[in-house]
Symmetry: C2
Subunit: 343 residues, 2 copies
């Protein structure tokens, strides 16, 4: 059975992206789990490999990208803009990061890899480069021509999918509708099956304190969330809720459910960051492929210094390799069964 192939963009070369990627690849608990191909600017990778004494993967020739993918760790180079400043956001750094994502998307569209992990880019650099996206997730949605994404955050024992994320709390309440909650539960169920290899238990948090106490403390829990949970159950999903968020998270942390659906940013981010401060992984749901990213920014202030915490990048690459590997194994099993069953 072949190993899964995972693409890893190295992010903004002026930030900690190249360091995170190299340190994760050098970890035997990560590097051996998949055929990793780094997509990014060779300059940043060369610089950090030399500065930190880390192995530099073989840099592939720029030719037919998919044909060049090989099984040992390698670098698929993107045009190296000269003069990316290290340690601060710049248009050049953003350009290199965007080029890496574009190349990776072409490879993912051609089914040349099983999952994508992205190192950090900078909101400020994207602005300096004149790009329209506030972050990499919006970039991926736009370049993949999909909308309506959701974010799953994983850390420690918790997996939390968010109905809404980066918007004001007031507008987040408005966006908690029966349809948006149902869509989130379906995406949570889908990623749960991919991550766990079985139908997951999905526990849905309430919006209001005590999940609204039957409508006494706000009506959204009864009007939007409870019907959405019923819809999901009628579609065969093992969903429950709305549940009081302050008692749900301790229960989830103790293994009492597989995934939590949170209504807004802080409701999900507070418990995840509290229980797994240095190992958070974000999974983007709704893209046509599996994409994971570390809970780490470009961190220009520590770029090239060898002090970035790579735990979250390692966790992202490990999770991508494991999920893709399970799917490859299942596909191989189906193929074998098909071959066996063929006349």
């Amino acid at each position: 059975m072949r190993k899964p192939r995972v693409l890893v963009t190295s992010g903004d070369p002026g930030g900690v992206g190249p360091e995170l990627v190299l340190r994760a690849l050098a970890d035997p608990g990560v590097g051996g789990l998949a055929d990793f191909t780094v997509v990014g600017s060779p300059a940043g990778l060369r610089r950090d490999a030399a500065a930190l004494g880390l192995p530099l993967p073989r840099i592939l020739p720029v030719s037919d990208p998919s044909g060049a993918l090989v099984s040992d760790p390698s670098v698929m180079p993107v045009s190296d803009p000269s003069g990316v400043p290290v340690g601060r956001p710049s248009a050049e750094g953003a350009r290199a990061a965007v080029e890496a994502v574009r190349t990776a998307l072409r490879l993912m569209a051609g089914k040349d890899a099983d999952a994508l992990v992205t190192a950090p880019v900078s909101k400020e650099a994207l602005r300096l480069g004149g790009y329209p996206w506030p972050g990499q997730t919006e970039m991926l949605a736009d370049l993949s021509a999909v909308g309506d994404l959701r974010v799953l955050l994983m850390a420690g024992p918790l997996r939390v999918v968010h109905v809404t994320a980066h918007r004001s709390l007031r507008s987040a309440i408005d966006a908690v509708t029966r349809a948006s909650v149902l869509r989130t539960i379906e995406l949570a169920d889908g990623i749960g099956r991919r991550l766990l290899g079985r139908p997951p238990r999905v526990a849905v948090a309430g919006l209001n304190p005590h999940a609204g106490e039957h409508g006494i403390l706000g009506d959204e829990d009864e009007q939007a969330i409870r019907p959405a949970v019923a819809d999901a159950r009628s579609r065969g999903i093992d969903a429950s809720g709305p549940l009081s968020a302050d008692t749900l998270f301790p229960r989830a942390a103790a293994g009492g459910t597989d995934l939590v659906v949170a209504m807004y940013h802080d409701q999900g981010h507070i418990p995840v960051k509290l229980l797994g401060p240095d190992e958070g992984v974000a999974v983007t749901l709704g893209l046509p492929f599996l994409r994971m990213s570390p809970d780490h920014g470009a961190a220009f202030d520590i770029a090239g210094k060898g002090v970035a915490r790579a735990g979250s990048m390692k966790a992202a690459m490990r999770a991508a390799a494991e999920a893709a590997g399970r799917e490859a194994a299942e596909a191989a099993g189906h193929d074998a069964a098909d071959a066996k069953g063929a006349p």
Copy 2:
């Protein structure tokens, strides 16, 4: 120096209140910290003492309540309504609980004790008894003729004061005003001084994700919270914020601040319950005396069975004794200094 005197109401006799009180008193790490006087129905206490093999404190004669307070653990009896059913909410159970609170309030008003700890009552029983209060805190506010209370939740390393609590999330946003945030910061500073014996560091959470990102994700952080923090600083309080809540709580848990001000119920309750699930203590701020309560309900389903988790009641009684003890010591110090300085 005298020990502090702490009153402990035993709550609804049909629930776990009497058991929680007796088990906490029997713990040498709690019972010796103060002169505890239990205020409540003797029937429930007798029942649980017999069933669980726990010492029953001496039951005082019903006469002049304050004169009868003695230093060993004792019970100040309130009229024992016959026929309080065990294991379910009832009007009789609520009546006993309310009588205990009324008696305790008379003693507190007469400065006969230094702090009050209240065992659980039941919202449903209060309704059955025809009382107008949804919970014990509202009862205390009404009977003490004060409004505008705040709740401090403590567990593990966290102390969190809430600007709003039991109201819909939408109405909580409306209630986050410059004045309400400032009032909360002042109450947080005040209780911090009482609990720590020094001016505390108070970190104020933002309302919106990332504390609004300078107004991009909602304007409440800039319009209400930032000015309130500035007001508090101008009054000499060591306040900071608004701070992104998802990174603030991990920092607070690591000791990076003394108190957190949270804007709404779940923002504060999720981290507290996650880090200290069985030892949560609520402190009511704004009353004319120190009042603490365990993070535990009347739990009728396990009443009298000896399985209630008393950790949170013990923590409440310990915290009340320690805070009252510190104040008594400081008062004694002042008195001694005054006497010494007298001609």
